[in-house]
Amino acid sequence: MKYTIHATCSVLMLPFMLATSAMAGSADVVVENAWARASIGTSRPGAAYMEVHNAGDEPVMLTGLLTDLAMRPEVHRTATDEQGVSSMSPAGDIVIAPGETIALEPGGLHAMLMQLQRPMEEGESFSMTLTFSDGGETTVEVPILGIAARGPED
């Protein structure tokens, strides 16, 4: 039933629906406290951290990252919350419930910047785009802190 209505609607109001879904979902995403650690050259992957808050009424799904700094930016999870071995794996799509915030922070989720195109220099910044399942995007400017930085305030 739902699908029938949905199908009918899509035919009639496709452009309008796309616009509203973008507004209801990822348009309400707020990114705060973004930071990254300076890299040594470009041979090793870099990491960026941030808090992603869903201020809207519907769940949003973070599906990917885009930046010209790295060829392959991916959200990874360091699985050390309860067990001591740290091993990284792509985190897959991340759903953020309405009102919830997911933290990309050391020891947990992080934006892994693989195949750096240029060194990450302390004091500079780069822009990174978060893409969501509804087609929406949020772009954030990420400041690059020192290599020994431990959080966004360092």
Partner: protein, 302 residues
């Protein structure tokens, strides 16, 4: 070795196996100490002279003793098979690459302990290998087993009450969280933990699975059946306590790092809890069936 030859001058053939055991041990010790990264997985993760000598000498004396004991006391083919399986299992969980796993995950550690305390010792006790080992062993072994202190230790540890307290208590003791933490980090305590598990397991199951009526066996068949089943309940309780724990009660594994990082502390504990819950309970049931069978064969009253 030279002292042995000087004292008793046995024929060279009897010394060859000892020389082979020492030589093989020396090779494994060298690789384990200086080339640990090159040790194959079937070799010891950390070589132990104690375990190596205990296992190989027991095997040697048993094999040698088979032809020396009279047919009434010679274990039949399936009892011999149980002996080799039990010995190989205990060796396998302590002196191969499995040992690394047993130190890096709670549930593999529990598998190791169940093998050392329940399954391996049940197999060894089933084999009734004692007379053959004594017959195949050197004189000093028979003298030592016959000595006052050895008899005293056996008299005390084979009291049913003491045997149960040791069997249940030791398994619980090494799982008291602070005790487990230190035992996993301290090599001496770690070795002590594993030795107490194996020795206590053999003592307990040898008492329960004795094929003879009482006397000469220490306790009556009825009590043996009760022992086999009785130890199951505290084991189930412990398994349940750990399985249903919602927090990380054994943080050693988190601090040193789990071998499978994808398995969380609580999941690891759940699997480990079931490992010490189900298989030991099954061994109790097996033990009960064996006791009943022994009783029938002996034509005894419970």
């Amino acid at each position: 070795m030279t002292t042995i030859t000087a004292r008793r001058l046995p024929e060279p053939g009897t010394l060859m196996p000892y020389a082979a055991i020492l030589l093989a041990g020396a090779v494994m010790w060298t690789v384990s100490t200086y080339y640990p990264a090159r040790m194959p997985a079937v070799g010891p993760y950390e070589f132990s002279w104690g375990i190596w000598l205990a296992v190989t000498l027991t095997a040697l004396w048993f094999a040698r003793g088979l032809s020396r004991v009279d047919s009434a006391r010679r274990p039949g083919p399936w009892r011999q098979a149980a002996f080799w399986a039990g010995l190989l299992l205990i060796y396998g969980v302590t002196q191969t690459g499995f040992e690394y796993l047993a130190q890096r995950m709670f549930f593999t550690n529990r598998l190791q302990h169940v093998a050392m305390h329940h399954v391996g010792p049940v197999l060894l006790a089933l084999s009734c290998a004692g007379p053959a080992i004594l017959a195949g062993g050197p004189d000093w072994l028979r003298r030592a087993c016959d000595s006052g202190p050895a008899r005293g230790v056996m008299r005390v540890t084979q009291q049913p009450a003491v045997a149960v307290i040791l069997f249940v208590g030791l398994f619980w003791f090494w799982l008291i969280p602070p005790v487990h933490f230190v035992a996993m980090l301290d090599p001496v305590l770690y070795a002590l933990m594993n030795w107490t598990m194996v020795l206590d397991g053999i003592l307990f199951w040898a008492l329960v699975l004795d094929t003879r009526p009482s006397p000469p066996a220490r306790v009556r068949f009825g009590l043996r059946a009760a022992l086999a089943v009785g130890v199951m309940f505290p084991q189930i309780l412990l398994g349940a306590l750990i399985t249903f724990s919602q927090s990380d009660i054994f943080p050693y594994y988190a601090f040193c790092g789990r071998y499978f990082p994808g398995i969380s502390a609580v999941t690891d504990q759940q699997i480990g809890g079931i490992v010490i819950w189900i298989p030991p309970a099954m061994m109790s049931v097996v033990g009960l069936l064996v006791v009943v069978g022994n009783m029938r064969r002996a034509g005894a009253e419970p």
